[in-house]
Symmetry: C2
Subunit: 589 residues, 2 copies
């Protein structure tokens, strides 16, 4: 193992994620300039300083169109938070101007914030594809008070007029969920390309349908191109889905018993290919996990998956078939605690018990932060005799995001005047800028902005205005949206690292004397039952502190509290080298 | 991004890391069997269900030798913990039998627990190499109350007698810190090989010194081989250090300004190579970070690094040199908050301010769990105009652990009768077993045991006895060693996710009536100032709960507390869908 000296303090707090440094847009902000009424304004409300929470808008005079309504998953630094969604306060004030929302595809980082935001945006018309609509509706149904959504279904090749100033031409791209679209937005200043999230998935003969599509788009005189940066730091080309499916087929052939495939419920393209392999080999397929089940059903109902009769079976019926016939498609390849695969690993699944000789295929990459959970899952399955295949040893997963060489190919074909990297952390977006410049975009036309920065486009120019729209993180926790702020999160982090101790002293309001021995409760600090001496010493000190305070007319409770807090904290630090949160309470009787 | 439906509950708790399943040793435990007095006993106290905390021992009659005294770094599930060390209660009781401790190399997962454990083990003689000794001593000096350590320096090729029954022959292996050794332990039942942590680092002409060494060891009739599993799931061969250094040299040549190399302070081999490159190119080198500085100094003092005069400079002096001459070696490539590189990224470093055109080389892989911190670090450096190279795009790091093909090569050469995978999670160890079997070890002789399991070896047999020695995790937090248990950690996790609320009601001891309006304090749950109504409602409910309790002779405080706890928790869950820890306090006056 690579070890290192880590200082104690380094271990005890999560890393500060301070973003510092000079601003590095292609143009310097000129905050004194006035808003140009004839310019097109662009800003992202999320997605530019994180992975997820994708949402951006274009504004021309009194018309706005929005692209995507994504959420972000919580991180180590946001403990207990369910989701992080964009701050829409700028758009909320202008909701009459919103002419429509375009959704590029049905992943949660593009649709997940809709139930929280649609009403506040005035519930505008949503332009999207059939499958995306169905998945959005299914999710929306879980939110009882959310308004009924209105959709306009779009098809590849179609050009729609949105409002007075905008048009949108949609085109299919290969991602890893069907019905993913990119779009060319026609505006009074020129064409803006949002290519969606795509990869150039090549077949054996080197063909890519998506590449052909971009060749057509390249003829449209694109003023500005927005480009996903998720793959921008990955060298080379995509692993072809054909290769992935071939490798999975090989594993299927060698499997001595049942096969369990763990992957994302949203990887519908992959799932369909796996079902086809199973069908070809005379196997039957069951799904496990709510989202896996519903997504496959939606895709089947809409005709995106054409599956022979009798291939899909209920999970309850797997015991009726020979083990060698069984394929189970499962959620939970990230080690999520309540998902199917973890339940199987833990021996808690209602219908599936691991048997020696079961083959498990982890057809996904591990999202940073999930490594330990996935490790435990693999350990548990392995302990039960399972055979395990991961993408570490074989190409059984391929990302849906174009890596470096594919981004460069597409930028060359599109040849946009301006280039704006979206979706990704700063370093990823900065690297993306480098790829664009290598592909012919002029250095001064490659524009690196953060969430909330406004770019104004005219027919010939683009500038960062220096103005900003609010674009901070809004936290969803339980039923609360936006009611958890930095203070609460900071407390959660401290409580997690150090625990807390509450010291309760009852004093006589008149005399200021301690009435009874102070009460102490503590959690996450030390096991109190085994530390009676420490407790007695704290009580003694608290009585002493209060006893020493001179008593005039009124008892200064705040003063006593701050004395107790400081002195107990110092005492505990000296005794234990720990810094629990000390919370003094004075009860005046 | 690959998104997925995650259930709310899944987001709110860390994954349960339950290890389940059938036992899978090569032999089934036979707990009824008696201890064989003429057998050699082996057990690991750590390292077999984690990465780190490596420690194991061999016992023959009344003699014990210990190998390594490692620590483990804390994880998401052990918030606030500094280190995790092995449980030595079995050895502590037999400390008179301990004839010596062998330390294979100076990484913290092999030496880090020494300051906590040496006294309790009776401070036995430590057998190790010169560099390891110096690094252990330097670390030991930080612990004021730890006993002075006694060392016996060993050299490659040397055979030492330890106690009456054991001998140890040491040999050098290539890892990534100098003076790493493996050893053949001679015992009355046969030779046990602990090859240390190694890789077969091949030069351009395909030679590997370590491989040649193993060819010699292979002649020694090895009864049992212990094998590191860290690389057991990685296919292929090691990236040669020569390649790594060549790539770093290329980056050096292209760098327009200063060069900062972030890596582990323990990667002394790599550091030396980098210093040599710098020297060759006429550059000067400064170190930043306490461990980086001391490790390089120790290596220089002992002659492991031969560096020309004037090459190493003080960090304070870097401004005296042309930027193109400067190379800075830094700790903190894992994004550790207090390490040098993070300070530079945050603009908080005393001597180094990032300038546009500075080149940063991250010459390490990212340890799972550190990805986000490293991302922020790269973002911050990138925002300040830095050029960044990581091992994602170029081979500028190579692991010190043999991957699959190299493990197989060595097992074939050694041809041991028994094979025991060590160092790594279950899946890694199970995979390692598979490699051994492919390399000629008989299936029934490949033995998969967990921490604490005892294997008894005779000249011809090995069996898992079914007995176990205590081998749980011992947590170090501040000055406390072992005083934090599962209860405290569980509370910390709950506090982190949901926060807490303390409800304090003062009641008249005689009448059982509420004396004053209940006090409420809360942290990490909700921002109280903005939720006055919720607070008032809690107070009202608490008064009501207490008012309703029938009052006989004595007030049943525990009963009232449990009522308050349940009902406040339920109320809050209904209102907010959150489950803060509710802590009721009743003050009887």
């Amino acid at each position: 193992m690579k070890t290192m000296e880590r200082k104690k303090s380094a271990m005890r707090r999560p890393a500060k994620r301070k973003n510092v440094g000079v601003y590095r847009g292609a143009r310097e902000p000129k905050s004194e300039e006035k808003r140009d009424e004839n310019a097109l304004r662009f800003a992202a409300l999320g997605g530019l300083e994180e992975i997820g929470r994708n949402m951006m808008f274009l504004e021309y005079k009194d018309e706005i169109i929005i692209i995507d309504l994504g959420l972000q998953f919580p991180e180590e630094e946001t403990p207990g938070i369910d989701y992080i969604i964009p701050d829409i306060s700028y758009l909320e004030k202008k909701k009459e101007s919103i002419k429509g929302i375009v959704i590029t595809h049905a992943h949660l980082d593009h649709i997940g914030a809709a139930p929280y935001l649609m009403e506040r945006l005035g519930n505008p018309l949503i332009y999207t594809t059939e499958l995306t609509k169905e998945i959005m509706k299914r999710r929306h149904d879980e939110f009882l008070h959310a308004p009924r959504l209105n959709f306009k279904i779009v098809k590849s090749g179609e050009i729609l007029t949105i409002g007075e100033y905008f048009s949108a031409e949609f085109f299919d791209v290969q991602h890893n969920i069907p019905d993913t679209v990119g779009l060319v937005i026609g505006t009074p200043v020129g064409n803006i390309l949002h290519p969606g999230e795509y990869k150039l998935d090549r077949t054996k003969n080197g063909k890519s349908k998506t590449l052909d599509t971009f060749k057509e788009i390249g003829k449209k005189n694109i003023l500005a191109m927005l480009q996903d940066s998720t793959g921008a730091t990955k060298p080379g080309y995509s692993i072809p889905e054909e290769t992935v499916v071939e490798n999975i087929e090989t594993i299927f052939k060698e499997a001595p018993g049942r096969i369990v495939v763990g992957t994302f419920a949203s990887l519908l393209d992959r799932l369909y290919e796996i079902i086809k392999v199973a069908e070809k080999m005379g196997k039957v397929v069951a799904t496990s996990g709510f989202s896996m089940k519903t997504n496959v059903q939606i895709a089947q109902n809409l005709g995106y998956m054409k599956i022979g009769k009798g291939v899909m079976i209920n999970l309850e019926d797997i015991e009726k078939y020979d083990d060698k016939k069984i394929v189970i498609l499962c959620t939970g390849a990230q080690g999520e605690p309540d998902a199917s695969l973890m339940r199987i690993g833990n021996g808690e699944h209602r219908h599936v018990r691991t048997k020696p000789g079961d083959t498990f295929i982890f057809s996904s990459s591990v999202i940073p932060g999930n490594e330990r959970s996935v490790q435990t899952l693999k350990d548990n399955l392995s302990r039960q005799g399972a055979i395990i295949h991961t993408s570490e040893t074989m190409d059984i997963h391929s990302s849906g995001h174009a890596p470096q060489e594919e981004i460069k190919e597409v930028v060359k074909i599109i040849n946009p005047k301006f280039f704006i990297p979206i979706h990704g952390y700063y370093f990823m977006r900065a690297t993306n800028i480098g790829l664009a410049i290598q592909s012919g975009v002029k250095k001064e036309n490659a524009i690196l902005v953060d969430n909330g920065d406004i770019i104004e486009f005219t027919k010939t120019e683009a500038k960062i205005t220096g103005e900003r729209v609010p674009a901070s993180s809004v936290f969803v926790d339980g039923l609360g949206v936006g009611d958890i702020g930095e203070v609460v999160l900071r407390d959660r982090r401290t409580l997690a690292e150090e625990g807390m101790i509450v010291v309760i002293a009852s004093i006589n309001r008149k005399t200021g004397k301690v009435i009874k021995n102070p009460d102490i409760i503590s959690r996450g600090f030390i096991y109190l039952k085994e530390n009676k001496e420490l407790l007695d010493e704290i009580r003694r000190r608290v009585r002493m502190i209060i006893g020493r305070v001179p008593h005039y007319q009124d008892v200064d409770v705040d003063y006593i509290k701050s004395l107790i807090k400081d002195q107990v904290a110092e005492f505990l630090y000296n005794k234990t080298n720990r810094r629990p949160m000390v919370l003094p309470v004075i009860i005046e009787i």
